[in-house]
C-alpha cells in the first residue's frame, strides 16, 4: 500500500507558461528506497518541494495515506510525517549537532523528558558520538553534518525521508556510508526513503528508480 501517491501531478511557475513537471504518476511505499533521477532542470528538486509540501502542485494531486496533501497543515506535515535532508545540510550553524536535533523535537512539540539523551541516541544511530554531538555544526565534516541532518529528520520518527542530493557534497566512501543508513531506515525501520539524485551509484542502490525527463509541453 502506497504511503505517498502522485496522481497526474503537474507544476509550472506562476509567471511561466511552461510546465516544469507534467502528468507525473508515482507511487511510494514504506520499507523501500526510491531514487528520482534526472538531468539538471528536469524538475527533481521541484518534485521534492511538492512532496515535502513546500510547494503546491498546479494540477493533479498528491495523496499521503490516501488523503489529499492540500488538505493538510503543511507545517505540521513537515515536522511530523516527513523528514527532509538537503544537499547543503541546512543545519543551524550557530547551534551544536545535539541542539539542532533538539530544536526539531521542539518544533514537533515532543513531550520527551530527556531530549538530549534521545538526540544523542539518534546521533549514535547515524554513527556520531556524543562528543561530536556537542560540537558546533561548522566544526563537523560534510559527512558528519549530513549525518546530523539525517538524525534531525529522524527526531520525530517520520514515515517518509525525503533527501535532495544527500551525497552531492560527499566523497565516495562517505556516500556509501550515508546510503547504508538510508538502506537501514527503509528495510529495518520500515520508512519510505525518497532520494533525488543524479548519481548513478546512488540510483543503483535504490529499490525503485524513477526517471524524470525534461518536459517540453506548454
Amino acid at each position: 500500500m502506497s504511503i505517498l501517491r502522485l496522481e497526474n501531478v503537474s507544476y509550472k511557475y506562476e509567471d511561466d507558461k511552461k510546465y516544469v513537471l507534467k502528468d507525473i504518476n508515482y507511487d511510494f511505499e514504506k520499507g523501500r528506497t526510491y531514487a528520482i533521477k534526472g538531468k539538471s532542470g528536469s524538475g527533481k528538486t521541484t518534485l521534492l518541494s511538492l512532496l515535502s509540501g513546500l510547494e503546491k502542485c498546479s494540477e493533479g494531486k498528491i495523496l499521503y495515506n490516501n488523503q489529499d496533501l492540500n488538505k493538510f497543515d503543511l507545517d505540521k506535515y513537515r515536522n511530523t510525517n516527513i523528514g527532509i535532508i538537503f544537499q547543503s545540510f541546512n543545519l543551524l550553524t550557530s547551534l551544536t549537532a545535539i541542539e539542532n536535533v533538539i530544536l526539531s523535537m521542539d518544533i514537533n512539540h515532543q513531550k520527551e523528558k530527556n531530549k538530549r539523551e534521545k538526540a544523542i541516541e539518534l546521533l549514535k544511530s547515524v554513527g556520531l558520538t556524543e562528543k561530536q554531538g556537542d560540537r558546533r555544526i561548522l566544526k563537523l565534516s560534510g559527512g558528519e553534518q549530513q549525518r546530523v541532518a539525517i538524525a534531525r529528520s529522524l527526531s520525530y520518527n517520520p514515515d517518509i525521508i525525503l533527501a535532495d542530493e544527500p551525497t552531492g557534497n560527499l566523497d565516495f566512501e562517505t556516500e556509501n556510508e550515508i546510503m547504508a543508513i538510508f538502506d537501514t531506515l527503509a528495510h529495518k525501520q520500515n520508512k519510505c526513503v525518497i532520494i533525488v539524485t543524479h548519481s548513478a551509484n546512488v540510483a543503483k542502490k535504490a529499490d525503485v528508480v524513477y526517471e524524470l525527463k525534461k518536459t517540453s509541453q506548454n
Binding site: D75, Q87, S88
Partner: protein, 478 residues
C-alpha cells in the same frame, strides 16, 4: 516555551547586535522617562496651582469701550463727561443679585468712601481712596474702606498688611476700625481710641469709629515718605454702606469679587451678569491670565519635553525598524531552515518578537532607572532656564515703565520680578522647582511606549518573515 528558549539563545549568540539595540532602547527609555516625568510633574503643578487659587471675577469699567463710544458719538465732550459722572455705579443689592448664581461659590466686596476729619491729621500723600472728586466735591483726606468679610481682605491674606497691635473685629456690623501704623504714630493714636470722620459735603455729619487694631503696610516700594495706605482706615462694609445711604452724593466706590465654581463658567457668568442688567460699559475681569502666568514656565517646559519626546520616539523607532530589517535579512537562512523543518510562520515571528521584547524590557528597566535619576535635575535645570528667560522679559517690561530709574535697586527687581502695578500678579507665586518623580502613570506610559516601539520595530521582521519563501531562501543559499 521553546520559542522563548530559542529567543534567549539567539540573544546570547548575537550579543553585538542586541547590545546595540539595547543601547538605543535605553537611550529612548531614558529620554522618554525624563520627558514623561517632566510632563507628569508639570501637569500636577498646573492642576495644583488651579486648585490652590480661586477663579475670581471682578467688575470694572471698560474704558476702551467707553472711549470708543465717545469717539463714534456726536455728543459733545462735556455731555459725555456728565454722562460718565452720572453713570450708575454698582450697588450692594446688585452685587447680591450677581452673587446669587449657580456659577458663584461665594462673593465679597470692598466699599470705599472719601472722608475728612477735624480730629486727626492726614499724612501728606496721595490717598489710595476712591480718587478724585468726580462729583465736584471737596477733596478728601481719608479713605474709609469697608470689607464685607475676611475673604475680601486680600492685603491681609497676602501679607501686604499685617496687624501690629490689637485685632480686626470679627463683627462686620460695628463701628470698629483699624488704622495704618504711620497714621497712628502721626496722631498719637492707639487701640481703643476713637476717631471722628466728617462728610466732605456736609461737615455737620460726623462718623465715629473706635480703633480695634493697628496695621503696618509692608509695601516699602514707594517714592513717598509715607506708605500709600497711610490714610486708609479699614472698617466693615456695613458701616460704609450706612454712610453712603445717608448721603448718596458721596464719592463711593464698590469693588465686588466673585469666586467662581470653575474656569469653565467664566463666559456663562459674564453673560448672566449682562442678562441681570449690568451696563455694557462694565466688563468682567478674571484672574485666569494671572494664574496662567504662574504656570507659564512649567507649561513651556512640558511642551518642550513633549516635543523632544516625540522626536526621540520617531527617530528611535525608525532606527530600530531599520536595525530589525537588517537583522531579519541577515537571518534569512535561519528563517528558511526553521520554516523547512516545519516551524510555523507565527512561531518564527514570535521568536523574533520575543528576542526584541526581552532586549526591550531589560533596556526599558535600565533606561527608566537612569531616566528617573536624571529627570529631577534635568527638569529643574530646564525650568531654571525658562524662569531666567521669563524674568529677563519681566525686567525688560519694568524698564519700560521706568522702574530702573525710580530708585528700585537691582536686588529688589530680582526678588520681585513680576511686581508691576497690575493687581494680583505679585500675589501669585511663580513655580521655581519641579518634582519630576516617577509614578505609576509615568511607568505605565513608559511600558506603553516600550511595547509600541517593540511592535513598530518588529513590524519589519513580521512583514519580511511572512513574505519569505523557505525554498527560495535555501536555493539562494545553495
Amino acid at each position: 516555551m521553546y520559542i522563548l528558549k530559542n529567543a534567549f539563545r539567539s540573544i546570547n549568540r548575537s550579543k553585538g547586535r542586541n547590545i546595540l539595540i539595547g543601547i538605543i532602547i535605553t537611550v529612548i527609555a531614558c529620554s522618554a522617562t525624563i520627558g514623561l516625568s517632566i510632563m507628569n510633574a508639570a501637569s500636577k503643578v498646573i492642576e495644583s496651582s488651579k486648585s490652590k487659587y480661586d477663579i475670581t471675577a471682578t467688575i470694572g469699567i471698560d474704558r476702551d469701550k467707553m472711549m470708543k463710544n465717545v469717539d463714534s458719538s456726536s455728543e459733545s465732550k462735556e455731555n459725555m463727561k456728565e454722562r460718565f459722572n452720572s453713570m450708575a455705579s454698582i450697588s450692594v443689592s446688585d452685587i447680591e443679585s450677581y452673587g446669587d448664581s449657580k456659577y458663584v461659590s461665594s462673593y465679597y466686596y470692598t466699599y470705599s468712601v472719601g472722608l475728612n476729619s477735624d480730629t486727626i491729621d492726614a499724612a501728606e500723600t496721595q490717598s489710595k481712596g476712591p480718587g478724585g472728586n468726580p462729583h465736584g466735591q471737596s477733596s478728601t483726606s481719608f479713605t474709609l474702606t469697608g470689607y464685607s468679610s475676611y475673604e475680601a481682605m486680600e492685603e491681609f491674606i497676602t501679607g501686604a498688611y499685617t496687624i501690629t497691635e490689637g485685632e480686626i473685629s470679627s463683627n462686620f456690623s460695628d463701628n470698629s476700625c483699624i488704622i495704618n501704623s504711620e497714621l497712628a504714630t502721626l496722631n498719637n493714636l492707639t487701640v481703643g481710641d476713637t476717631i471722628v470722620l466728617t462728610n466732605p459735603n456736609d461737615t455737620s455729619k460726623t462718623y465715629e469709629l473706635i480703633i480695634s487694631g493697628i496695621y503696618s503696610d509692608n509695601d516699602t516700594d514707594t517714592m513717598n515718605m509715607f506708605t500709600n495706605s497711610v490714610n486708609t482706615i479699614i472698617t466693615n462694609s456695613n458701616f460704609v454702606e450706612q454712610i453712603v445711604s445717608d448721603d448718596a452724593t458721596l464719592n463711593a466706590k464698590i469693588t465686588p469679587t466673585f469666586i467662581l465654581t470653575s474656569e469653565d463658567v467664566v463666559d456663562s457668568f459674564e453673560q448672566e451678569l449682562y442678562d441681570k442688567g449690568l451696563d455694557e460699559t462694565y466688563s468682567v475681569n478674571t484672574n485666569l491670565d494671572q494664574l496662567s502666568s504662574e504656570t507659564e514656565s512649567i507649561q513651556n517646559l512640558a511642551t518642550f519635553a513633549f516635543t523632544t519626546l516625540i522626536i526621540i520616539l520617531v527617530i528611535g523607532g525608525i532606527i530600530l525598524f531599520i536595525i530589525n530589517l537588517i537583522n531579519v535579512r541577515e537571518r534569512k537562512y535561519e528563517i528558511g531552515v526553521l520554516r523547512t523543518i516545519g516551524m510555523k510562520k507565527t512561531s518564527v515571528i514570535s521568536q523574533f518578537v520575543s528576542e526584541l521584547l526581552i532586549v526591550s524590557v531589560i533596556s526599558l528597566i535600565l533606561g527608566g532607572f537612569i531616566g528617573s535619576m536624571l529627570s529631577v535635575p534635568t527638569a529643574n535645570k530646564l525650568l531654571e532656564q525658562e524662569i531666567q528667560s521669563s524674568e529677563q522679559a519681566q525686567a525688560n517690561i519694568n524698564e519700560h515703565f521706568g522702574r530702573s530709574m525710580n530708585g528700585a535697586d537691582e536686588n529688589s527687581k530680582q526678588e520681585k520680578p513680576s511686581n508691576m502695578p497690575t493687581k494680583g500678579v505679585s500675589k501669585i507665586e511663580k513655580v521655581t522647582s519641579i518634582d519630576a518623580a516617577i509614578d505609576i502613570k509615568v511607568l505605565s506610559e513608559l511600558i506603553g511606549i516600550g511595547i509600541l516601539l517593540t511592535l513598530v520595530s518588529s513590524l519589519a521582521a513580521c512583514i519580511s518573515i511572512s513574505r519569505f519563501s523557505p525554498l527560495t531562501i535555501l536555493k539562494e543559499r545553495s
